[in-house]
């Protein structure tokens, strides 16, 4: 537990000190979302219809972009080896790193989504569900992504490989994330079920992905 907190604090501090990575991710998010109106035209009704999907896909891509830094920097400067040989189980350390990564990239991105929702003429009453669905669903993106990042750590052109591996696994999260927002637009309480499935995806990936990631890191550092 001591190691868990120590790793979590270290990663959050490192992210805060560097700063640049977060700004880049938010900038990317903003640009991807604002490209859509250029691509499909400024029709407000159409934009409102596609807004949930666009926001989720842009968020997913922004998370994907920040994933390769999760282990890569530690791998390059050797601190990853120290973490692997430390007393605490590697799985626990990975959970700490994933949570730190989520707090420093996932949460700021989510806080930016309501503004982008305005850009896309998303109904205001969906904003609460939008943010909530993302808060519940995005940890799953980070956990599954951590397994992908661990599989590709230290590989040439790992970033491209990472996208190829991780994006198909993101399909369920995307489906339920978007349907949570859409069902909130049509009915008052229709989104509860999808929220619960999103929660299940997050919990399931939190339970399984650290083991896959730890196994992958051990292979790479053997």
């Amino acid at each position: 537990m001591v190691e868990f907190i120590a790793v979590f604090k270290r990663d959050v501090r490192l992210a805060a000190a560097q700063g640049g990575g977060l700004g880049l991710a938010i900038g990317f998010f903003l640009i991807v979302v604002s490209l859509f109106p250029f691509g499909i035209g400024p029709d407000l009704k159409l934009l409102a219809r596609v807004a949930p999907g666009v926001l989720w896909i842009a968020l997913l891509l922004s998370v994907l972009l920040s994933l390769d830094r999760m282990f890569q920097a530690d791998f390059e400067d050797g601190s990853l080896e120290q973490l692997v040989v430390s007393r605490a189980p590697l799985e626990v350390i990975i959970v700490a790193k994933v949570l730190a990564h989520w707090v420093t990239t996932g949460v700021p991105l989510i806080l930016a989504t309501p503004i982008l929702g305005l850009f896309l003429n998303l109904d205001e009453q969906a904003f609460g569900v939008l943010v909530l669905s993302m808060l519940i669903g995005t940890p799953a993106l980070n956990f599954v992504g951590a397994a992908g990042a661990a599989l590709t750590v230290g590989i040439r052109r790992g970033g491209l490989l990472l996208s190829l591996i991780v994006l198909p696994l993101y399909v369920p999260i995307l489906v339920f994330g978007v349907s949570a927002i859409q069902s909130s637009l049509t009915g008052p309480s229709g989104s509860l079920q999808t929220m619960m499935i999103l929660g299940a995806l997050t919990l399931g990936s939190a339970a399984l992905a650290p083991f896959a990631a730890a196994a992958a890191l051990r292979v790479h550092l053997r």
Partner: protein, 246 residues
């Protein structure tokens, strides 16, 4: 599983001689099975009363999709054996199965699309089954890409094995989510499998075709595994030479 049974054929030399002896027989069996299955499918089976002759695509499409799933399961199982027992041939088997499985998946997608044109009036419909096949195809691509980017075979085998198992756990979740998504977006407009009960004259060619595809898979797998074993031998001979000069 009994360890001794698994390791009996773990020796690559033994595998090479055994597979060499088996291949011609398997090949003959595959060709014969395809002959019977195709005859049954193309001549014996009656055209469907609604879909006409196009229903015959089924005799390629259904076995291909079946093998697409079966090959991935085989790959995941081989990966598990490779991870747990460090079986030297399991990695080879998993690696060799991937491109074959990807081809079957591609075949299933293409035949599905060809079937879709007369049935749905479009080459591609975001039908739940087609879509989950597409995602399965992506999973295969990621797995193959891992093997191609990591040069050292043992390390590549381990990493790829983890990915195969992660993918295998995810397949049912993806299937479930795609089914959900599909009902959300387009309510039942798709042809149903449970029309009139399948006639025996359609059923037997279909089963024979599934058997043929399974045989074809095992033939292709054995050939691919043999060339992978040879490739690794060449690699180790080369490495030994380089070390000898150094």
């Amino acid at each position: 599983m009994n360890g001794s049974v698994i390791f009996k054929y773990a020796n690559p030399t033994q595998f090479m001689s055994l597979s060499k002896a088996m291949l011609p027989w398997l090949l003959v069996l595959t060709v014969a099975s395809f002959g019977i299955g195709l005859y049954g499918g193309l001549w014996v089976a009656p055209p469907d009363y609604q879909q006409g002759e196009t229903v015959r695509i089924m005799f390629v499409h259904v076995p291909a999709s079946w093998m697409a799933m079966a090959a991935y399961s085989f790959m995941a199982l081989a990966s598990l054996v490779g991870m747990v027992w460090k079986h030297p041939l399991a990695d080879v088997a998993a690696k060799s199965a991937a491109p074959i499985g990807a081809c079957f998946t591609f075949l299933a997608l293409v035949t599905g699309s060809l079937w879709g044109k007369p049935m749905w009036g479009a080459w591609w419909v975001w039908d739940a089954r087609l879509t989950s096949m597409l995602v399965l195809f992506f999973l295969y691509l990621g797995y193959i890409a891992i093997w191609q980017t990591i040069e050292e075979p043992i390390k590549a085998g381990r990493v790829a094995a983890i990915l195969a198992m992660v993918g295998f756990v995810n397949i049912p979740i993806i299937k479930f989510s795609v089914d959900w998504w599909n009902t959300l977006h387009q309510p039942a407009s798709i042809l149903r499998a449970d029309g009139p009960a399948i006639y025996i004259s359609i059923l037997w060619p279909l089963l024979v075709m599934i058997l043929s595809f399974t045989l074809l898979f095992s033939v292709l797998l054995l050939v691919a595994m043999r060339s992978e074993v040879i490739r690794r031998r060449i690699r180790s001979i080369r490495m030994a030479k380089i070390e000898g000069f150094g």
